[in-house]
Amino acid sequence: MQQIIYFFIKNKNFLLFALLFLISFILTLESHSYHNSKLISSTNFFSAKVYSVTSNITEYFDLKEQNKILLEQNSSLLKYQANTNTPISQIPLDSLLSKNFEFTGARVINNVYNKTNNYITIDKGYNHSLEPDMGVITSKGIVGIINKTSGKYARIQSLLNTKSQINAQLKKSKHFGFLTWNTQNPHIVQLTEIPKLAPIAIGDTIITGGNSAIFPKGILVGRVANYTLENNDSYTVDVRLFNDMTNLSHVFIIKNKNKQEIIQLQSSDDAE
């Protein structure tokens, strides 16, 4: 017994190191496993507060750029109004989308894009009825999916995350695939599993497919920059995003009012 206690005292530094290293290793593994990184996140009270204070200061630096984006969005809405003669207050953000979707605006308080798994923190949370698995866009295009919420803040799993897999399709031919990211360039993502039959050309527009309950069909993603044929007879397409993921300030969160119904219907199919 004495020997055991002596052993512990003698090696206390190594044992403490081993224990703490193991804890951090488990946290790391947990953050790499799909959809499950919930223990350590920047939505906790302290870090979110620090980020919102600093973003209150730094957002003045790109007011000019944000004004330009707002102006573009306004002009496209005005154009729509002039062409259809409907009062602007009655139409949602994008009239192409069905009325089952609601939009909430939020401000980005922290945006990371230089790692392999990137997250964005915004200043609204479940107090503003945001939930995990809601889609996030800007007026230019898609951003990512919410994966964790706290009272006043939420964390978005960005498109620039090796764990992201978002359903998207070619605008002209409806062939769909999955958006993934190969970590090389924050302006370019990969669209995989496009069938060989699909007529594809550089410059084609990519939009979201309507196959998930998260994004409505027809949200802009980007343009085809390059494509290669893989061994399994499908294309992998490099897509240049419309959005500048390195410069995000205001985003919209999409809430699907029929999501619960869709999920219930799909799960009842599985049961049969």
Binding site: L16, F17, T28, I40, V50
Partner: protein, 169 residues
């Protein structure tokens, strides 16, 4: 540790952590190169203080950086490793003399100081990027990030130490 040393280290801990998460994590030089200057806390932690305490504080420092950068436990793992290896690296860079009389980082030769900082930074960065990217097929990316971020960190740490050198004396 004396009282003023304890306060100095607490202030250093908080200031370096905030500097890292607010400023340095957003530099993105050439797209992905960021310096990790919070290592200064572990580098400067009193050489004669308890090693157990250093390991524990390194873990806390790494974990608080992780809390801000949504990275699981990668900073904590890297920090706790360099905290544990520090006595060995000190002995390697300054010779056995460090164990008997308290060596001060601003009194050793420039060569020894650079050796010590470089060793610590590169071990830390290799573990950090290895765990963050966590895939053998990206080994080139891991080594590239380690090299570029490492050089950036070493230069920045040397500059910061030079700037605050007079205050320490």
């Amino acid at each position: 540790m004396q009282n003023n040393q304890i306060i100095l280290n607490i202030v250093r801990f908080v200031v370096l952590m905030l500097l890292q998460v607010i400023v340095l994590n957003h530099i993105n030089f050439l797209g992905y190169v960021n310096p990790y200057a919070y290592l200064i806390f572990i580098l400067l932690f009193p050489f004669d203080a308890s090693k157990t305490l250093l390991i524990f504080l390194s873990f806390l420092l790494g974990l608080s950086i992780d809390l801000f950068s949504d990275s699981g436990g990668v900073h904590a793992a890297a920090c706790v490793l360099v905290g544990f290896l520090r006595p060995g690296i000190l002995k390697f860079s300054f010779g056995v003399s460090y164990e008997y009389n308290a060596v001060k980082l601003n009194k050793v030769t420039f060569k020894e100081r650079v050796l010590y900082i470089t060793l610590m930074v590169f071990i830390h960065h290799f573990v950090l990027f290895g765990l963050e990217i966590f895939s053998l097929s990206h080994i080139v990316l891991i080594l590239k990030s380690t090299l570029f971020s490492g050089i950036f960190s070493v230069l920045l740490i040397l500059c910061i130490l030079l700037l605050f050198n007079t205050k320490e004396n």
